[in-house]
Symmetry: none
Subunit: 188 residues, 2 copies
Amino acid sequence: MRRSKKERQSLLVQTIKETPFITDEELAEKFSVSVQTIRLDRLELSIPELRERIKTVAKKTLEDEVKSLPIEEVIGEIIDVELDSSAISMLEIMPEHVFKRNGIARGHHLFAQANSLAVALINDDLALTAKANIHFTSSVKLGERIIAKAKVMNIEEKSGRTTVEVSSFVQSELVFKGHFEMYRSKNK
Amino acid sequence: MRRSKKERQSLLVQTIKETPFITDEELAEKFSVSVQTIRLDRLELSIPELRERIKTVAKKTLEDEVKSLPIEEVIGEIIDVELDSSAISMLEIMPEHVFKRNGIARGHHLFAQANSLAVALINDDLALTAKANIHFTSSVKLGERIIAKAKVMNIEEKSGRTTVEVSSFVQSELVFKGHFEMYRSKNK
DNA sequence: GCGCTATTAAGACTAGGTACTAATAGTAGT
DNA sequence: ACTACTATTAGTACCTAGTCTTAATAGCGC
């Protein structure tokens, strides 16, 4: 069935978006026009040729693979630690930390920064988080840097159970506050 | 510098693995041999041509995208959701989730599973965590599967603020319990 | 020099295009 | 009906990054 030029072109855009691996010949058949018409359409709509389309898709994959490797491992960069006393770390919010819809950082990354800082702060091989009480006071956006400051509030003599307060800031604004209770395997 | 055939071929395999977007001509220059030699090498080693290599990389991306669309930004695999009511997800603890020293899962991964499940549970485009009260009741080890169960406890009429309880289990043992208070942009 | 492997070259062909020129079909305005 | 204009189609030369095939040459062991 023949359609108008406009109609065909908007369908063309959609078709290529859905199935990017389609050749001009297949498109010509699909829309019952000549291959030349399809090529004129692509020219007008600035849609690159099949092989270029495939290449950009493939490039995206490679970039993603490189990116997704180190992310899970490192949660912020430790700037300063005084064991069993206080510690500071910094985390820059990158695209992989945010909700795609609104560019707001997902809560668990703020938590992860604070939690790993609390763990690093404790002078023990086997520190674990037991409880936490956390508060997200303001949303953090793509590109912002979070500075998390952790402070040991109390170490119980017998059990070694340690209370840590973590406050995270973007510039001077408080974005996260957490109260952590940590286990440790050996007493201090 | 010229190398023996064997040496060149093993380097060729490695080079193509690292930089799959390399043409025969570039490879020929790199190894100081003719294009034909590179083609004979690829033939012997059953390495497909550049365009085929790009295509397979791109196909992988598309498959991944299809896969990651419904799960989108959830940590763990969603098993069941009833919006604004309850949801269940599963997370298998892999080497990247644990402390290397003792094979125990880092707390923030349990939190991330619970937090993203609470977000996914809410029938709103813009759900955010406001507060959380969490408790790590037992340590989870490498290879174990965590089943997180989330339940909406209360939705405030005016603000839409939603209370979610998440309990996570390894088999029948409770490993994590969290009380989440969530914002939403539009009221229900 | 003979035999062998490795390498290089040359030619014909392929897919999936680009770039350009030119012809034709169909429709609207006057 | 004639003209103007857009849309479509056709055809040619050229491109990249190959394939497949045949053939020539280089280097080495013995």
